[in-house]
């Protein structure tokens, strides 16, 4: 008797759930064109911030900026990371190399790898390098 009642309760819950899912399509996990556009804009905002930082916005005392050696982010090769970085003597991700540049030619203070500024710089660098195939490890 108990079992039958339990089974019927389960059936009721299940059917209710199905009914709900049929009528409430917005609760399903589908993103829309609008979502895509909005999220893309969120990303491009980070690219814009990164662009400013890249072009003299890091505030380092000696005034050297990334774009002086890397106009439009050229010659940064983000598609080759992680790689063995000869200057560091180990395999690294691009953030560690960005910090190397900040500390060496820019004579500035390194950023935490999850610092929004670091993320923005990478967004800009990758954006300028879009559509180049991945080649991890390439020197």
């Amino acid at each position: 008797m108990k079992k039958q009642r339990a089974q019927s309760t389960i059936l009721k819950i299940l059917s209710l759930g199905t009914a709900m899912s049929l009528t409430c399509a917005v609760w399903a996990d589908e993103f829309t064109q609008e979502d895509l556009q909005r999220w893309n804009q969120e990303f491009m905002a980070a690219v814009k911030t990164g662009d400013k930082l890249f072009h003299g916005g890091l505030g380092n005392a000696n005034t050297v900026s990334c774009d002086q050696c890397h106009p439009n982010g050229a010659n940064t090769h983000p598609e080759t990371y992680p790689k063995f970085q000869q200057q560091l003597g180990k395999v690294v991700t691009i953030g560690e190399m960005i910090n190397w540049c900040i500390q060496n030619p820019l004579e500035g203070k390194p950023l935490a790898l999850d610092d929004p500024k670091m993320v923005a710089l990478q967004a800009y660098i990758y954006w300028e390098r879009r559509n180049v195939p991945l080649q991890p490890g390439k020197h």
Partner: protein, 403 residues
């Protein structure tokens, strides 16, 4: 001469203990932790007999003008294969212009000598006996005479090279010495065990911080290279880091001109090279031109080869002129951007890799601690035993970095 037999016996015994024959007789041997296989040239394969012959020749002081100087005089096994002097003392105590590099791991170098003027160990071995301030001999003949008239040598050369006595040349001697030197290899330091052996506790916290500094802030890793699976700690390239330039500062054009005219006046290439070999050890100003004497490249003025840092704690004093006594002095020199004092002038020929570092006192200490972790256990043991046996101590080496 009372100490000589002890040195010979001790070093040979230790050599036997450390570099026991069979394991190093073939190329396919596993190298020490942190090092790649030793490069062996096709025309000079390793054999136990050749290595033993080389060891003997290396220690033979008869191969000098006064019978007192051998390879081991300036590259002593019990002093980490150097002599712990700023510049070496050769025949009749004559000094040259340069510090004796260690033989340990020299086999990995892409050239030999501070200015890379010899391509390999075989070439290097032939120069010191005939240099006026080292072995003092006029040519190699006196060496070959001794060998040809020595029954043991005659037997060994015949066994190793298949030569009859009258056909023994300095090339055979050099090959045997080089073969011995290719066994003078040491890795497996605390750094190696940490980095390549997975031993988290092989380095202290200070040394670990020093390793991180070595890679980034202290800017060591580009020339004193370390890699993902091995570390030679040298790029075998030539850089002007600012040492010794005071001797020629402001007069580089005149000195370079004087040198080039003397070099190009020599009868042919061979004579020009012989002129260079002697000039760099006897003329301080020409010596300070560094790699330029070989390449005549404007940008090689004052450039010298990057030495390895393995066992650096024991190979004091430092730099091509032996002008820096301790590792702290060395770290200060780099921290100041290639000068002894922070407000000294900087040579315009300075490598682009050298710049002021702004290290804190703690960072400097961590970096020195890391450098001390590059000593191989067997080399440390040998140095400690030699110290105990009361050998070698001289005023200039007292208080060095021997662990």
């Amino acid at each position: 001469m009372k100490h000589k037999p002890i040195i010979l016996a001790l070093s040979t015994a230790l050599a036997g203990a450390m570099f026991s024959g069979p394991t190093l007789a073939t190329e396919s041997n596993r190298p020490p932790l942190g090092l790649p296989p030793v490069p062996i040239p096709a025309d000079n394969p390793q054999t136990p007999e050749k290595i033993a012959l080389g060891d003997k020749l290396y220690h033979d002081t008869r191969f000098s003008a006064d019978g007192k100087v051998s390879c081991a005089t300036c590259h002593a096994p019990e002093k980490a294969f150097t002599d712990n002097l700023p510049v070496s003392k050769g025949f009749q105590g004559l000094t040259g212009t340069r510090n004796a590099p260690t033989v340990i791991n020299a086999a990995y170098m892409k050239s030999q000598f501070w200015d890379g003027r010899e391509p390999d160990l075989e070439g290097q071995a032939k120069q010191p006996p005939i240099n006026p301030v080292e072995g003092g001999l006029p040519n190699h003949e006196p060496i070959l005479e001794i060998i040809r008239n020595d029954r043991d040598y005659r037997k060994q050369f015949r066994k190793v090279f298949g030569t009859s006595p009258e056909h023994i040349t300095e090339d055979h001697v050099a090959k045997a010495i080089a073969a011995f030197e290719r066994t003078v290899i040491a890795g497996n330091s605390p750094f190696d065990r940490y980095q390549y052996g997975g031993e988290e506790n092989a380095l202290t916290d200070s040394q670990k911080r020093g390793l991180a500094l070595f890679r980034v802030k202290a800017r060591c890793a580009s020339c004193h290279t370390l890699e993902h699976t091995q570390a030679l700690f040298t790029d075998s390239k030539f850089h002007n880091i600012g040492i010794g330039f005071k001797a020629i500062a402001g007069r580089e054009p005149e000195i370079a001109e004087k040198f080039l005219r003397m070099k190009h006046q020599q009868a042919d290439e061979k004579k020009a090279l012989e002129f260079i070999d002697k000039a760099v050890l006897s003329d301080k100003e020409i010596s300070e031109l560094g790699r330029f004497v070989i390449t005549e490249d404007f940008s090689d003025v004052g450039a010298f080869k990057t030495p390895t840092l393995r066992n650096v704690a024991l190979t004091f004093p430092y730099m091509h002129d032996g002008s820096l006594q301790t590792l702290e002095d060395v770290v200060d020199f780099y921290n100041n951007g290639g000068r002894v004092n922070p407000d000294d002038p900087v040579t315009p020929f300075l490598s682009g890799g050298i710049k002021p570092l702004n290290l804190t006192e703690q960072e400097k200490a961590d970096l020195v601690a890391f450098l001390e972790s590059l000593t191989s256990p067997e080399i440390a043991k040998q140095a400690a035993q030699a110290k105990q046996a009361g050998i070698h101590q001289s005023a200039s080496t007292a208080g060095g970095n021997t662990p």
